[in-house]
């Protein structure tokens, strides 16, 4: 799953679930986080020594760091082409499925357009980020979807 933090500069993170936690990648920086639950609180650590409390978020639409504000997009950026590296395609913006180009079982190649989503009055081509097999199609043409909706799931070929 890809996160775009788009402010004055754009920062892109890729997150992946691992056996014991999560792996987050930014450029060449890679951090593997473990998660631990104590009481009602969750803690995370990248070295299994120093643990920090996790602030549970209602949603991550935007974030401010000191004076900088970032809009956060998940899966794809509404302004352009979202290349998917990971399996789940979840939309962050409410929108409408204009065209659907694949169905379950289809083999797709990296760069293939999977569907077109109209959001914020713009058409967004959602493309496959890697060679894959379509595992799940959770939308149909002309369907309106809310933000957070899982549209497709792909099985990425190793």
């Amino acid at each position: 799953m890809r996160y775009y933090f788009s402010g004055e500069n754009e920062v892109v993170f890729d997150i992946e679930k691992t056996k014991n936690g999560y792996k987050i990648l930014k450029d060449k920086l890679e951090k593997i986080y473990s998660i631990k639950e104590i009481g009602d609180s969750l803690f995370f650590s990248s070295d299994d020594k120093e643990w920090k409390k996790l602030i549970k978020l209602k949603s991550l639409k935007d974030i401010s760091i000191a004076s900088d504000k970032f809009n956060v997009y998940k899966g794809f950026k509404p302004s352009g082409v979202g290349e998917q590296d990971f399996g789940s395609l979840v939309t962050q913006m409410p929108g409408k499925i204009v065209k659907l180009f694949c169905s379950v079982g289809d083999e797709v190649k990296k760069g293939d357009t999977l569907l077109i989503l109209e959001a914020m009055k713009m058409e967004n081509e959602i493309k496959a980020g890697a060679d894959a097999v379509v595992k799940l199609v959770n939308v149909e043409e002309n369907q309106s979807i809310e933000s957070g909706h899982l549209m497709l799931e792909l099985d990425i070929k190793a």
Binding site: M1, Y3, F5, V11, F13, I15, Y22, I24, K26, L29, K31, Y33, I35, L42, F44, K52, K53, L54, I55, K56, L57, K58, S59, L60, K61, D62, I63, S64, I65, A66, S67, K69, F70, V72
Partner: protein, 471 residues
Amino acid sequence: MSKRILIINRGEIAIRIAKAINELGHVSVGVWTDNEPKAYHLSYCKEWTRLEGSNNSETYLNQDKILELAKKLDIDAIHPGYGFLAENSEFVRKVENEGIIFIGPNAEAIDLMGDKAKSKKLAKDANVPTVPGSLGEVESIKEAEEIAQEIGYPVLLKAVAGGGGKGMRICSNKNELEINFPAVQREGQSSFGNPGLLVEKYITNPRHIEVQILADKKNIFHVYERECSVQRRHQKIVEEAPSPFIGNDEKVRNNICETGVRLAAAVNYDSAGTVEFIMDEDKSFYFLEMNTRIQVEHPITEETTGIDLLANMIKSALGERLDISSQEEISQKGHSIECRICAEDPVSMLPAPGVVSGFDYSFPQGIRFDHCIYSGIEITPDFDPMIGKLISFGINRDVAIRKMRDALERLEIVGLKNNIELHKAILNEEKFKSGNYSTKYIEEVSPQDKIQLSSERRDEIMMAAILGEII
């Protein structure tokens, strides 16, 4: 006997008032408006009711609608909080005409203190020092020079009708006065349609020091002083008690506190209120104005004196005995600091409404947090950007600073732009730490330029946010 008390305010102060009402065994009645149906203060009130409408003139400022609601709900007393109708004597009279108690001072005192000219004259008559200067408009350069000679340079030339920094010029000598006199006249004429001007002593590095008053129909006590010199746009953002500038000078402290009482007595003050002064480099002080309401920064006085100002303000209005019966019972101990947490950009200090997507804290001993925040709350531009007050108390100033610094590190508000980083910069800055700073602090020291977050720290914040959402 238990009274039904209506709170016609919102945010953190409505919560503070509700807590005091509940503690005293009365019934707290809160209101919600259409643009804030899930306001956090409601959760502290025993009863909630709708105040129909979505802009403030339809709701919190609508005197008739509030009175109608109060009658319908069989209300015994109304607490106005601060802002809105807190210092509106017309409203006080209307409330009292309905046989309802207004929790605040008498209308006459509000009238007298609300008028700058009247309050200045009243202060003079009560032997309370005011900023030296002309008594009325100055007609000529010659007259201005005579006054300047008498009170000493630098002086401030001020358009009678001026405001917001316009129509004001500082003159350090006779020459500058001659040049600026006609300039201020012209500015006054063009900006405010009035060329009249005043001459006042210019206080070079003023400290804002205020005295807390607590009174009922029989007694007027002072509850010591606060210093509120860290300001932006003439609004306080950090306050402390006691004043570090007065320091150990008990003579000055007693003098300013007793002067506050003298002024309050001159208007038969009978509630909680604050007399504001500016203090010069040489510790001479001058009356500025009196706030006839409970103030935002009242908690630091509560922390250092142990006196619950809100509870006593309510008791005073209901004609009940205060928790204290003599001035000697009131003493100040330790040190308290308040940081106002605002939904604003920490550098430009401009309001920044938005949604709180995550909120958490874990404070050390000695911290109090009066706030109206929860995860998911939307801070709209309809109200003041202040969303909380972080208050630290320690055995001395250094300890209060230490505790505040740690508390700021442990207060997390995610999503919404806020000024926590600015407060961190101030609490770590040398001039603030020295305790010797004036109201020009923000302008001169510019602590906002010292806000620094490494790129690693920024990445960590983003990564933590991602984890915070998906888990």
